[in-house]
Symmetry: C2
Amino acid sequence: MVSELAGDRLDFEFQRLHGMGEDLYAEVFKADKSRSCRVYAPVGNHEDLLPYLVRRLLENGANTSFVNRIMDEKLAVEKVAEDPLEKVANTTPVAHPAIPLPLNIYADERRNSSGVNLANDKLQLSLAADIQPYANSKNYVEPLLAVVLNQSSNTLPETDVDPSFPEITVAELRNSTGAEVDSAIMTAVEFSAQWDATAVNERAAALDKAADTLEACLPEFIALCAREAGKTVGDAISEVREATDFCRYYAARGREQFGAATVLHGPTGELNESSLHGRGVFVCISPWNFPLAIFIGQVTAALVAGNTVLAKPAEQTPLIAYRAVQILHQSGIPREALQLLPGDGASVGARLTSDPRIAGVAFTGSTETARLINLTLAKRDAPIATLIAETGGQNVMLVDSSALPEQVVSDVIGSAFLSAGQRCSALRVLFIQEDVADKIENMLAGAMQELVVGDPRMLNTDVGPLIEPEALKTLQTHAARMDNEGRLIARAPMDPELSGYFFAPCAYAIDSIEQLQREVFGPVLHVIRYRARDLDKVLEAVNNTGYGLTLGIHSRIDKTQQDIAAGARVGNCYINRTMTGAVVGVQPFGGERLSGTGPKAGGPHYLYRFATERTLTVNTAAVGGNADLLGMGD
Amino acid sequence: MVSELAGDRLDFEFQRLHGMGEDLYAEVFKADKSRSCRVYAPVGNHEDLLPYLVRRLLENGANTSFVNRIMDEKLAVEKVAEDPLEKVANTTPVAHPAIPLPLNIYADERRNSSGVNLANDKLQLSLAADIQPYANSKNYVEPLLAVVLNQSSNTLPETDVDPSFPEITVAELRNSTGAEVDSAIMTAVEFSAQWDATAVNERAAALDKAADTLEACLPEFIALCAREAGKTVGDAISEVREATDFCRYYAARGREQFGAATVLHGPTGELNESSLHGRGVFVCISPWNFPLAIFIGQVTAALVAGNTVLAKPAEQTPLIAYRAVQILHQSGIPREALQLLPGDGASVGARLTSDPRIAGVAFTGSTETARLINLTLAKRDAPIATLIAETGGQNVMLVDSSALPEQVVSDVIGSAFLSAGQRCSALRVLFIQEDVADKIENMLAGAMQELVVGDPRMLNTDVGPLIEPEALKTLQTHAARMDNEGRLIARAPMDPELSGYFFAPCAYAIDSIEQLQREVFGPVLHVIRYRARDLDKVLEAVNNTGYGLTLGIHSRIDKTQQDIAAGARVGNCYINRTMTGAVVGVQPFGGERLSGTGPKAGGPHYLYRFATERTLTVNTAAVGGNADLLGMGD
């Protein structure tokens, strides 16, 4: 076919692997002696060559391969030479009935969120066009209250900046005044009984509607996630998907758990029913690192359980929260049920959590802040509040000598450096069995050189900026300490001209996890070597950090996997993959001990914690007899 | 037949109701003219007479009644005159297949606890004989630790007295020393991973075994409940039954919730599992008013969920707790998993709750103490602890004009005065619609005169002693205040010679629930009249107390029942019955707001709060391919 296409041209050559295709080229050169064929042989060490040869053998040995078919004498030449594209075009594809389409993997319960295939050029271009209108839009953020107070003159507007270009203002911001916080609390208290009495189907329907709107607003949120939170396109898509999944998952759980009362089995002559209700007013305090997903996850869980909600978004990302609340209001959540109170922790947060009318707080953020909130709540002269806290981690990956190094390095890069390491689940400490440590460190150092740090709007960017100058300072200080205490394995390249809060991912070899007292929230990886026989001690040291969020295992030995998974006191354990990117309903997420209170977000028990249980007992025989017995027959 | 029996005796007379039995007696007197028959007629007002006549008509009109049968000319005289006892003896009773025996009402899940029919004289006598050996037994209580320290000389023994006869010592008591508390914590911490790794079936089996032993020890616990807690025989039987039910119910829930991991549905190529584990070390602080049931409920829930437990019993009832722990140890709970630390709240309780190694506390007691524990936990430099608190109530019963007064009075007596009002669920404030208030107050006053206050060992005793002199003082102070502020409706009679902490049940009419700021824990009932049109305001006032434990409704109007039940922010709502005596698994128990944190004890969500959730994600395709797809077929 190539000869055919070439016609008279001579500016090309044929090539074949030494020892293969001899018959084929003999045939070609029989027809046209002016052609030449270069014979090549792969050269390399055993380790590289073996996989190469195996791949070639598998390809060429396959029944459907050209090489195999051309040797089959029973096949007509026309069959061998037919156009494969034409053949595919003429096929009617039949889906395997047991393999659902991606949107349908949760069957009838809920629709999966839609992904975007960024490898498709056409989709890329149309997405870019859809994002464009939001790329430089002007925005204004203020409290979203049920009762609007005239407070505009009380506070000076603040600015919400782009961490990649801090000189650029993403939104003008007016934070909540004390009077607004108080007024919002009062409205939330007054409306809570009515909201709890609203049928859960109605509450859940609003969540489902919001999910559809979130998906429709994907281009806008890609723009806002980049501009306000420094998120790459891929991360922003995941963020919108997670937010969408939270809405649909909690809607489904709400219908299941808060619908009709459950009849409890007991003695005859009595009806016993159990039902779940909202606890009252919930405060949701969310972090900047998942400004849409965690924000909306907390809020929708509290709402569908029948609570009214006062949402305090992270100071760094109020605009995304503002848009999320607008979408929830548009989807049917009453303004009295959900109010947005932008502001800082010291004023708005503390005012909310010290108020005796607050029934519960859902918080995601640092372990220290969670402890402070807990203490503030406990000091109130009020009923004991519910506190659902998701906090920090000192997340570890354990790699033994049986692990596949290529996969380890790929998953380490993904877990430690992507999202600029600004995920609570991100890998912080990589334990490598000493026997394979040199090799993996080398491969890791090489892979890190390929990381692109820069403007998250660019599709080839792997690592965006840190969220704010304080974060940059903390990481720089930590890196300086590590330069002293540890050995630098590698630092990713970074354009020195970048003006934002960028920090080049780096990896340090250190001696012991005890050198790390706190979570370092960014793309700094610590690598520790261990001896195979010390695995138990390693696990003990990991458990002794007090944190228990995520843990990764790379091993091809079942027993090692099982032993580590059974001994690790962590919320989420991942084997032979990345340790980030938990999917709602599939990998319920959350840690234990210093890493959080539970229950797991996106899990089947989450809504229970937002609820109070009520039991109703009716003496049905009080009407004059036991109708159940009378109706029973003989 | 009477003539037959009488023979020649004349010292009796026949009687018949005016207008009835004329034919019968005509027949009798035909045979023997020396007999006479007194004719009587019931006299009374319409209200009393009508039910009487209806009962007579129902009796005599029944197909099976002698009066009906004697008139049936088709029946042979031999049939009418046959011996009914003989007839019953010759019957083989057939159980209705849809009506399970009491022991089997929970079907295959678990066996119901056994009751005792105290109306059966024979059973009464044999039970009394079984109780006898424990009636005056000498007892000694000390800490039950995994590692025994030599502390005997460090503390002076205290005495545990009988509240009915405070001069009598029930047990010598050695409370826990600080060193013992510390040692117990250390053992509990060290053993917690091993206990959590023990198969839940093994943990649950120990609970089931303990349940059987508790039932077998019923006579002992009847004696101890009377001696140490002043409990009547009926209350003690209920107590043992509740403890038994807790063991079996939590064993069943444990197997269901903590057994095999749950597979979560997600994308192919990945295994996702969720499992529940113990949180670590739980402290269980239990009250004296259910010294066996609540004590063992807390402890077994924490244990079956995989936590090690440090149990601090109420200072007033350490002996019953001591015996309960011994039974649990004998049933297979390791001593390292469960240790008993008798002592007071200020020393032992505070030392436990301020320790950073404690993962959670289950507490039942006063709202004030719960708040203090919460604050103590929050002040620790430690992971946020779980606090499950069941606290006080300001429990109300609402009675409208459609209620059946006899039933109301009976249920008020049962709810407010039995157990000497020392149940957290007990009725404190009775709201009566003004139209029926005089009548119900009168009936109540009459019924209260029938209450027997005294030694709880006597079967005819309705109301035993209060637990301790401080309780008596509090109630006397409150009654003195009520004598001033309210109007005494009635006070039950009481023998002035009683030497124990007895308090005669009393009822006061007051104006408003706002006159009561705190729970008054004893047999004092407050009665408030309301106008029918003010029902909403009443409900609002009840909700405004801040408490939300139990609420009773007596009404025969469905809409009233529904409206109140829907508007009441309480954990347990009871319609047309008493509002105490919640049954494990049937009426999950616990309040909201000032009355407790939830989840409900004896309910399906209780164990979740003692647990931490873990998710395990395995990239099953990492072995080289997706075996699920390969195994799927075409």
